[in-house]
């Protein structure tokens, strides 16, 4: 029987970490992910898990040590947020190009400045091109479930890429909600043991990691990474299907909410989707065909599946909790609009930047977005293609 509990997102992820009990965890404190290394340290101190914890002196060293540990053949995890992820930037690429299946819990927080500890996706969105897989959660349950699936995806022979399991800072990480946990033995069976093919400490061979590769070979390495990223889509779905069997909870590349016949669609990532669902329930009761496509997997970017899911929409609002300062909108906006063009979708689409620096979003504001979409269907999007939600006057 599943275990019913009340937990914050951080507690849920830490619980998953305890159940998986990986070999090594280097980590460095940063709000709001600090609780993760704290909770893991407590589990270790009380004999509930025996992962080797490395209290490194920076996030750069956290990722560097994670690369060392993973190259040596250890199942490795870490956690960070915001500036910590930014400090890892250089070596994120090293982890991905060395094809190391490290799992990292990212608790999304704004990048400075102004220095701000609240939720934003600018940290992980900034790292979107580093070669890491990225999966996002709407609530603590999804954060927990995603972390349980992380190693199955990352370590798969067709993938071998590091993975970020992202949750919204404070809103999910510190908000306490009901949750259903799997039993330890079920987790153990589901996640399985890690048996890498080549690693530094493999006793019957020597192994070299991190070459200098120039014009004659470097490009093939990059293409192989791109290929692995592409293969990950199927693996993510296969792992989700298996996870459904043990948990009863269904996951895909995205979640559709009232999406099938929706005329007005919001596309969004993370905790805001709960607010959007509430707005949809209200609007549906008034006969408005409002729907949501919640992005779960951002890397790889499932362009065909996304465009297929929203092809019936008359107008689409793509919500970004990150600025990209391109003057064109946020990262989800740019990528989804490019996908819509390639998929020959005719719907009007606008890009809304919201929730920066932790600004709250409420149901009334989401209702307004749907009202705008209705208007855009009639009058076009001109002048509204890229806008901010909830700005002070």
């Amino acid at each position: 029987m599943a275990i019913k509990e009340r937990m914050s997102g951080n507690e849920a992820i830490a619980y998953a970490m305890k159940q998986i009990n990986p070999d090594v965890m280097p980590a460095f404190p940063i709000t709001p992910s600090t609780e993760l290394p704290q909770m893991v340290s407590n589990y270790i101190a009380n004999g509930e898990m025996d992962t080797e914890f490395i209290p490194v002196e920076s996030e750069h060293s956290a990722m560097s040590a994670a690369i060392g540990a993973s190259s040596a053949g250890a199942r490795t995890m870490t956690a960070t947020s915001s500036a910590g992820l930014a400090f890892m930037w250089e070596v994120l690429y090293v982890a991905a190009s060395n094809r190391l299946p490290i799992a990292m819990a990212v608790v999304n927080r704004a990048l400075s400045g102004p220095i701000n500890i609240n939720c934003e996706h600018s940290d992980s969105m900034g790292a979107r091109d580093s070669g890491w897989l990225q999966i996002y959660a709407e609530n603590n349950q999804e954060a927990y479930d995603n972390f349980l699936q992380a190693y199955r995806i990352a370590e798969h022979k067709d993938v071998k890429l590091p993975i970020m399991i992202c949750q919204d800072g404070f809103i999910i990480s510190h908000g306490v909600q009901n949750i259903e946990l799997l039993e330890d033995d079920k987790v153990k069976n589901f996640v399985g043991e890690y048996h890498p093919e080549h690693y530094l400490l493999k006793e019957d061979e020597v192994c070299s990691v991190g070459p200098y590769a120039i014009t004659n070979f470097g490009m093939e390495g990059k293409k192989a990474q791109a290929h692995a990223m592409d293969s990950a889509k199927k693996v993510i779905l296969d792992v989700a299907a298996e996870f459904e069997k043990v948990s009863g909870r269904k996951y895909g590349l995205y979640e559709g909410y009232e999406l099938e016949d929706a005329e007005y669609v919001i596309v969004a990532i993370g905790s805001v989707c709960g607010t959007i669902k509430d707005a949809i329930d209200e609007l549906r009761s008034q006969g408005v065909k409002a729907g949501l496509m919640k992005v779960r997997v951002f890397r790889p970017f499932p362009a065909e599946e996304f465009t297929d899911a929203i092809k019936g929409a008359k107008a689409v609002a793509i919500m970004d909790r990150a600025e990209s300062y391109s003057s064109q909108g946020g990262p989800l906006g740019s990528e989804l609009m490019a996908a819509m063009y390639r998929g020959h979708l005719k719907a009007e689409a606008i890009n809304i930047v919201y929730g920066l620096c932790g600004r709250d979003v409420n149901v009334a504001e989401i209702r307004e977005v749907y009202a705008q979409l209705k208007d855009i269907e009639k009058n076009g999007a001109a002048g509204r293609e890229y806008q901010y939600l909830g700005l002070r006057d």
Partner: protein, 312 residues
């Protein structure tokens, strides 16, 4: 710990850095690596680490590697942290019964990757007590990128970011004393050495560093023919003069105890070391005599401080 130095036996051990790599002729870096790895007892397994630099790009150019052991390069500033991850993985896999054999962990960085950009990563790894050796092959500048000054660059050296010119006599600062700084981490073993005689000093220090449990640090002066501007064959003479002038003293710090490894019978003047290298050529102009006098004062001061620490 006791070490035994049998020159012939040691030199007949198979090379763990295989020939065919692309380092320059007369490079001190490879002499350091080959001789440190000779101190691994035959049959003992090791993982070798490396910060980005000449050594890395010239010894592990895909699809070739010059290393007979497992090897990891990560980036420029994180050789300490990277090897700390490898060593921790070893402990985890050992604990969980997934590996049986014993491994040693030795990582190499140039002075740029060690004194400067990798300083924090090194300090963290030493402080956390990982059972590993960090070897700095100190050639006194960022040689891989083209001879830029580092905090290990000697005073008045002509480098590409401290060029000697009409208004400049080269680098204005004396070098950072990294071996002393790491010794202050109270690690069990720190050694400073270079290429002297039959390499006995280097070998015995490397062996102690590798086989002393816990973190150890070796600082090896490893001249660079391009950056220092000398004829490749004169490297051994330069190292000797570095030691005989007390510019590069040989010492070790064992469990906090400072020990002078060698005291010249007659300390030679610093210009004997300086004049062997093109990077100090400008100091020998008539108008720069006072700079050499200043240099001598600084060398003397540091030598006296070291002797005091060593109770010599």
């Amino acid at each position: 710990m006791e070490t035994k130095f049998e020159f012939k036996e040691i030199q007949s051990r198979p090379e763990r850095l295989a020939p065919g790599h692309r380092m320059c002729a007369g490079c001190g870096g490879t002499i350091a690596v080959r001789n440190v790895l000779k101190a691994l007892h035959p049959g003992d397994k090791a993982v070798i680490g490396n910060a980005t630099g000449c050594l890395e790009v010239s010894t592990f150019t895909y699809p070739y590697t010059a290393y007979e052991d497992s090897y990891i390069h990560n980036a420029f500033e994180n050789a300490g942290a990277t090897m700390s991850g490898v060593e921790t993985a070893y402990n985890a896999l050992k604990k969980r019964g997934r590996i049986k054999e014993n491994y040693k962990f030795i990582t190499f960085g140039g002075d740029g990757g060690t004194y400067d950009i990798g300083f924090q990563s090194l300090s963290g790894a030493m402080e956390r007590g990982h059972d590993m050796v960090y070897v700095c092959y100190d050639n006194g500048a960022y040689m891989n990128t083209g001879i830029q000054r580092s905090s290990a660059t000697p005073m008045y050296a002509d480098t590409t970011t401290t060029p000697a010119g009409k208004c400049s006599a080269g680098k204005t600062q004396y070098r950072k004393d990294l071996a002393a700084i790491i010794a202050e981490h109270k690690v069990p073993y720190v050694g400073q050495t270079t290429f002297i005689g039959n390499m006995k000093d280097l070998y015995t220090k490397a062996e102690k560093a590798i086989y002393t449990p816990g973190p150890a640090f070796l600082n090896i002066m490893a001249p660079c023919p391009r950056g220092w501007r000398y004829d490749a064959p004169s490297i051994i003479n330069i190292c000797k003069l570095g030691v005989e002038t007390c510019y590069w003293p040989l010492f070790e710090v064992i469990e906090g105890k400072w020990i002078l490894s060698y005291e010249p019978k007659e300390k030679l003047p610093i210009e004997e070391f300086l004049k062997t290298q093109g990077r100090f050529k400008h100091l020998f102009k008539k108008e720069n005599e006072h700079l050499i006098a200043e240099y001598q004062k600084e060398v003397d001061k540091r030598w006296e401080q070291l002797k005091e620490r060593c109770g010599a």
